[in-house]
Each structure stands twice: as structure tokens, then as C-alpha cells.
Symmetry: C2
Subunit: 309 residues, 2 copies
């Protein structure tokens, strides 16, 4: 029997590395994740980790791997095909992950920014399918974005388009990790939920990540805690402001929101819509739909498969 | 001798109507302007005014008018080819200016938003020529914008792209004419200069437009008045914030700024650059140039000629 052709797609996150085998039609025939430890964070560490995954999948799976697609949490120079830098992986500097892997494995390797991969996945197999021009937004510890124009990912002139987490919400606002002030990322991320909600938790001294704290506050909101709900409402408010900016500039037809925080949809969505109704003109909002991603963790994996094939 | 083929291009503003005859190569062989009175502001009033101009030019000029291009200060439905609304011309409602004129004059008529026409003109014959992806910004009583992507004007799905004057600078900021709060237009326009600077003028009760007041404050700045200079510096600061937002979203290579306020370039430009250096990442700003328009009043006229031919 002929083996199915698949792409091995890898989504490198700050805490986990997700990977999957995806067929040309977009069926995810294998999906898994593995923790990223400190030693995996260097250039050689991540190369090693990818090679181990590839090797084990080649043994286990009854499919022919045609290429590798890697979703990168950082800036890519698409001309030189290198990762210039990554906020979560500070040791990466002009990391030629594609070239290094191709020399070792004799398979074509493609790289793409992870939020762009999310948008491409949504455009191909998710709720973004119906949109011609839309923004994919990933709400996690940070805020990522990918811009789809005329059905294609928009890289901009140097590959850095879609940095919507750094839209300024308040010119003199909170200090962002990027060095700037008042970025959306400081107001509409798990960081923001954790910062605003930590006092609602009993064990205030708990040693937890922003993500863990945000999850606890989400649980509180789900149990009807009004202050917790309000925190998510305000996240929606800020997202609504930034989405309105994008709609005013580009007159897009859609926004697809994914990432952990999108699970709080019922608390954030009404506030997003309310701001859009205030902050855009009737023409710019009449064709604009805001949807929650339904692909979950596999959106970027699917997006990378699209790039591979 | 064969007459030159020209386009008659008309730029309808709130106070003046500018018009010019432009050859296929982009030479402006005639340029003039005429005040817009109250009676010219209705649909039939503006049609009448255009017909009078056309008729007089057809008699006077030794050129063959091949088509009309009209730069519209409002929203256009490009599918239906009508002007849906215009803030400066509240009587226009689904104004089919193109169809009405074509029936009367047997010439093809094209319409385009005025800020888009500015960007197209800059892209064709101005300092925007060197850019592939840029934003044209017109700084007048309001703030207009036109988005050029891959050398083409970007209309968005319903023709309203480029509304950069309504990017939110402060979510709870000043009330804008659009109904929203905190729009760029309230902070980086002649309105803003007049509001912030009126106290610097001796005759405070003077019955003048925002434009006239802004011009007086500009004169003060040119004479070295520090408070007047500061007003323009702050305009640059706000523009820098909004331009950074656009650069973060689209990773463009240029911004071309025109309109009356761009004459205060020496006071606004350094502040724009300073904010961009704070508010964008090194990749997004490395290829980004901010330039002052050199086409002056004729940018939109030239842009319309480009659309006609």
C-alpha cells in the first residue's frame, strides 16, 4: 500500500513544542507535544530536539514525510531564510535553522512566524476559510498576529508584518517587554490577566506562570466571580480598540482569535464588538466578523503544512 | 497639430475645489482652484460646478479631454460606483456623481477617495515613487490616509481602507467628530493646532477657521516661539505613535505626508522619527522612510489622472 505523503510540522512555543503529521489535504494524522527544557532553548538544543522527533516519527508512522515546516516564535528574514531573533529564545541570533536541518536530513524545510502560521492554518482549514482579508490573533502570554490579504499571508518588506501585540493602546502606558510603552500585549494577554487578577486568588504567593494564574482567574470567572469576569471584559475592550485600528486602516472582513485566552470568549467577545461599533465607521464594520478559532493547538501546525505543500 | 490627450481632474475639498488638466505622462498643463460656496455643497450644486469648469476648459484649452477623475472627500462604494456619504457634504447620500455626469457629458468619469488619490499621485509622480508599500497621509483640518500595497491602492472589502485619522490614540481621549473618542484626527490636525494654540494668539476672539488659526501658530513657530513649536512637536509625537502602529501591522517601507500641516515639517518630523524608534522593532523600522510630499496641492489631481488613464 502506498504510504500517505505528510508534512512534519513543528510549532515551537516558549514552554512546549507541538508537532504533527499533516496530509496534503490537511488531515492531521498525528499530533503531540513535548515540554521545552532549558537545554532545548539553544540553537543546537532545538535542532537536536527536532531531529529526535523526526527520527522517532519516521520509525513509528506509516507515512512518508515529504518536508518539515517549522513555526518560529520570532522574526524571520525571508530572503536569507534565517531567524534573526526571538524574544523567548534570546540565544538565537541569525539562526539558520532551515539550512542546518536541510543539511542533516535531506528533506526540504520551510520556516514561518508562528502567528503567521496560525493565520495561514485558519485561512486554510479554520474559520478564516470564508475571509479574503483577515487578521489572525493569538492571545497567550503575549499577543501575536498574522495578516492575510487577498488570501495570502502578508509579510511586509522585511518579514515583520503582523506585530499587532505592539500596537500602542496608551502612548504613556505600561512598560512592555519590547522596551516600548502601552503596547496591546500589556493589556490583552495572560500577563495582563495575571497582573490584574492575582489579588483575587487566595494563595497570592504561589509560584506560577502568568498562564497558570490566568487559568485560575478564568476558572473564577466561569464560577461567576464578577471581578474575574470584569478582567476579561476589559481584555475584550482593549482588543476591540486595536481591532478597530486595524479595521480602520485595512477594511478587512474578518478577525480570527485563538490562543489560550480565547477560551474566555464569552467574556471578551461582547466587549470587542462594542468597541468596534464605537470606533469604526459603518462602512468599515459592516462586513467585519470576529470569530473564535476552532482549530485549537493545531492551527499553526496546519498552517505550516500549507506552507510545506 | 494633434491636441494633447488630457484628463480633467477635480479635487473637491471642504472649502475649495481644485482642478487640473493632466497629460498621460503626468504633466499638469493647467491648474486652478475655486471656492466652494454653500449652494455648491448639494449634489446638484457640485454637479453644476463641475459642468461649468468642464465647459470653460473645453473652450479655453488646446487639449482633448479624455475623461474626468474626481477626488471625493468621503466614502465610496466601488461596486455600485456611488459616494455613500461625506463628512463635509452631509447632503450627499448615495450620490451617483459618476453616473449623473456620464449621462450629461459623454466622457468616462472615475471617482476615488481624496486621500487615496493623494497616495496614488505620490506613488506615480511624487516621493512615493520609490516605495512599494506605503501610507499617504494628508494633514489638514482632518487626517486622511491612503494605503498603497504592492504599488496599488488598497481599498479593503468595502472601499473604506485608509481611515487612519480614526486610529485610537487614547481609548478615553477627546471626543472626535466621528462619534468616537481619542482618534488621531483630534491630536494631529489643524483642529488640534488651533485648539492647543489659540491662547498664543493676541486676538483670541478672532472669527477664523481652524486652518487660519493653525497658520498663525505656524507663523509664530517659524519666528521661534517655543510654545508654538512645542505644539507642532507634539503633533509629530502623535503621528509617530500612529505610524508605528501601521508599521507594526504592515511592515511598510514608507510614509508620505502632505496637506497644510506638513509645512511644519521641521517641527514635526524629528518627533515622528523618535517615536518610531521607540515603538517599532528594529526589523519593522529598518526599511521605513518618512518623507514630506513635494507635489503640494496637485498630488490628488495627479492621482486622479493616473486612475483616468
Amino acid at each position: 500500500m502506498k504510504k500517505t505523503d505528510v508534512a512534519l510540522c513543528i510549532d515551537i512555543g516558549g514552554t512546549n513544542l507541538r508537532y504533527g503529521l499533516v496530509s496534503e489535504k490537511g488531515n492531521c494524522i498525528h499530533f503531540n507535544k513535548t515540554a521545552i527544557e532549558k537545554q532545548d532553548k539553544t540553537e543546537s538544543g532545538v535542532i537536536h530536539k527536532i531531529l529526535v522527533i523526526l527520527s522517532s516519527l519516521q520509525k513509528e508512522c506509516n507515512a512518508k514525510i515529504k518536508g518539515l515546516g517549522i513555526a518560529i516564535p520570532g522574526f524571520i528574514d525571508f530572503e536569507k531564510e534565517i531567524v534573526t531573533s526571538s524574544p523567548n529564545f534570546p540565544e538565537w541570533k541569525n539562526f539558520s535553522v532551515k539550512k542546518i536541518l536541510e543539511e542533516k536530513i535531506c528533506l526540504p524545510v520551510v520556516i514561518e512566524n508562528d502567528a503567521n502560521a496560525f493565520a495561514i492554518g485558519e485561512s486554510w482549514k479554520g474559520v478564516g476559510k470564508g475571509f479574503k482579508n483577515f487578521i489572525g490573533i493569538t492571545l497567550g502570554t503575549g499577543v501575536g498576529g498574522g495578516v492575510i490579504l487577498n488570501g495570502q499571508i502578508w509579510h511586509g518588506i522585511d518579514g515583520s508584518a503582523g506585530e499587532i501585540g505592539h500596537i500602542t493602546l496608551y502612548p504613556d502606558g505600561l512598560q512592555c517587554n519590547c522596551g516600548n510603552r502601552g503596547c496591546l500585549e500589556m493589556y490583552a494577554s495572560a500577563q495582563a490577566v495575571a497582573r490584574e487578577g492575582i489579588d483575587l486568588l487566595k494563595e497570592k504567593g504561589l509560584k506560577a506562570t502568568d498562564r497558570d494564574i490566568a487559568l485560575e482567574i478564568f476558572k473564577l470567572a466561569n464560577r461567576g466571580n464578577r471581578e474575574a469576569i470584569k478582567i476579561f471584559n476589559i481584555i475584550g475592550y482593549y482588543l476591540g480598540v486595536a481591532i478597530s485600528d486595524i479595521a480602520n486602516i485595512l477594511n478587512i472582513d474578518g478577525v480570527v482569535i485563538g490562543g489560550g485566552l480565547s477560551n474566555a470568549w464569552e467574556f471578551i467577545y461582547p466587549a470587542i464588538q462594542k468597541e468596534i461599533s464605537y470606533r469604526t465607521n459603518p462602512v468599515s464594520r459592516k462586513g467585519l466578523k470576529i470569530l473564535k478559532s476552532k482549530l485549537g493547538d493545531s492551527a499553526a501546525i496546519l498552517g505550516m503544512a500549507r506552507v510545506v505543500f
